[in-house]
């Protein structure tokens, strides 16, 4: 099957005009990324499935309102993030947006947020597969850093887009991403024989 050469924005506009095939192409492009973005930040796969379905249903219902003012991926991940924050609020969990804003200094307060016991570096290092170590390490990241990392890796968003989407400054978004990478790199270095 030939790959559709249309951009995400063109596909979404086509779907807004009633082309179901355009949505199928679009869905195929982004289904994994959105799912992983959610599943890495949820407590369980069941919750992630529920949120994932809600996100795409919001996309479907908003097809007429969509305008190509921004990248489709930014718009899509904003929907996913808002849905995630709603979930956290319903679970009485502090959403990412309310975390203290980080600055570009070495003493990021998010660095002091401890990961759960089962995700401590010592236990993660027990995993034989380095890949699985990285994935697990991502889940052990502080919320803000993890979110920035996932938006960068899964959504392919730039620092500016991450900053705009999360409602923080450019430097803060950049700092979060940088510390996330540093933490993961440190884990890999520790596990290296």
């Amino acid at each position: 099957m030939e790959e559709d050469s249309r951009t995400d924005e063109q596909l979404m506009l086509a779907y807004g005009e009633g082309c179901a095939e355009a949505f199928e192409v679009l869905y195929g492009r982004w289904r994994r990324q959105i799912y992983r973005f959610l599943v890495r930040q949820c407590d369980g796969a069941g919750t992630a499935d529920e949120l994932y379905q809600d996100v795409w249903l919001r996309v479907v219902n908003a097809r007429r309102q969509y305008t190509a003012a921004a990248k489709f991926s930014t718009w899509l991940f904003r929907i996913a993030r808002n849905r995630l924050i709603d979930h956290w609020r319903s679970e009485s969990r502090k959403p990412v947006a309310e975390l203290p804003e980080a600055d570009d200094c070495e003493t990021d307060p998010l660095d002091n947020v401890a990961a759960p016991d089962e995700l401590q570096p010592e236990k993660i290092m027990e995993r034989k597969d380095r890949v699985r170590l990285v994935v697990g390490a991502v889940e052990s990241l502080p919320d803000a850093q993890r979110e920035a990392f996932l938006l960068h890796e899964e959504g392919g968003l730039t620092i500016d887009e991450i900053a705009m989407l999360t409602g923080v400054g450019h430097e803060t978004a950049k700092s979060r991403l940088r510390y996330a990478m540093a933490r993961l790199r440190a884990l890999l270095t520790e596990c290296r024989p």
């Binding site: 869905y27 799912y35 219902n61 994935v135 620092i159 991403l177 940088r178 990478m181």
Partner: protein, 246 residues
């Protein structure tokens, strides 16, 4: 040293281990919802010919109304036609005077060429002399025996008026008295003729008979002669013939 924003090794390892995918059932449900979301819009689309439904309905309605109006104009209902026919009966204007305005105003709607006249109107343009001045006169003419000649329009109008008076007045009333005295007082044939025209043959003959009965046979013969000029074939009563026999 500031750590880099992007670490290629970390990114590569992460993507290699990211095999998580949404369940197939979830995919199907979302795609189905996406299709159903646009399905109502497709169903709502009307066929191309239905877009012209309203203009077509309006055009057909206009054509029907026009045809109905033309049909009513060409074939008017009976009641209005009868009303138009009965109008001249009640009009005191004589027929020749009525015909004059129609001829003087060619733009009048009476002309069949000016407008499609109804059937009742289409029969009107017959010569005035050959048609009765009114339906009442027509009925009168039908009731008259065939042997009796049809008088002229003015004579017929006068005779009709006299007949109406005869029918209204009792026999031997004032009109007969006037008929009896008029020829005697005037003594002139034109006057007698005018008076004869103004009465019915039977009343006229009755007056002549009375005149002869009083002994004025000369005047009665003159009156009879005038009667003959008007009604040459009218049968005379035998008694009158005996009275006037020389």
């Amino acid at each position: 040293m500031t750590p880099p924003v992007h670490d290629h090794d970390v990114s590569k390892l992460y993507h290699e281990g990211s095999a998580d995918e949404p369940p197939a059932a979830l995919d199907r449900a979302i795609l189905k919802a996406a299709r159903e979301n646009i399905a109502p819009a497709r169903e709502a689309r009307k066929p191309w010919w239905l877009r012209f439904a309203l203009p077509l309905q309006l055009a057909l309605s206009a054509v029907l109304v026009t045809m109905l109006a033309l049909t009513v104009d060409r074939n008017p209902p009976e009641v209005p036609a009868m009303t138009e026919r009965t109008k001249p009966q009640h009009s005191p204007v004589p027929a020749p005077h009525k015909a004059a305005p129609a001829g003087a105003d060619p733009a009048a709607a009476e002309s069949p060429a000016a407008s499609p006249a109804p059937e009742g109107r289409a029969r009107l343009p017959a010569p005035i002399e050959s048609r009765p001045s009114s339906p009442k006169a027509d009925r009168k003419a039908e009731a008259t025996p065939a042997a009796i000649p049809v008088p002229g329009p003015s004579e017929r109008a006068s005779a009709e008026k006299a007949a109406a008076e005869d029918a209204a007045a009792p026999v031997g009333g004032q009109s007969l008295e006037a008929a009896r005295t008029e020829p005697a007082a005037a003594g002139a044939a034109p006057a007698a003729n005018r008076a004869a025209v103004a009465r019915s043959p039977s009343a006229w003959l009755a007056a002549i008979e009375r005149l002869a009965g009083t002994g004025e046979k000369t005047a009665a013969r003159a009156e009879l002669e005038a009667f003959r000029k008007v009604y040459p074939d009218y049968p005379l009563p035998e008694r009158l013939e005996k009275l006037l026999a020389p």
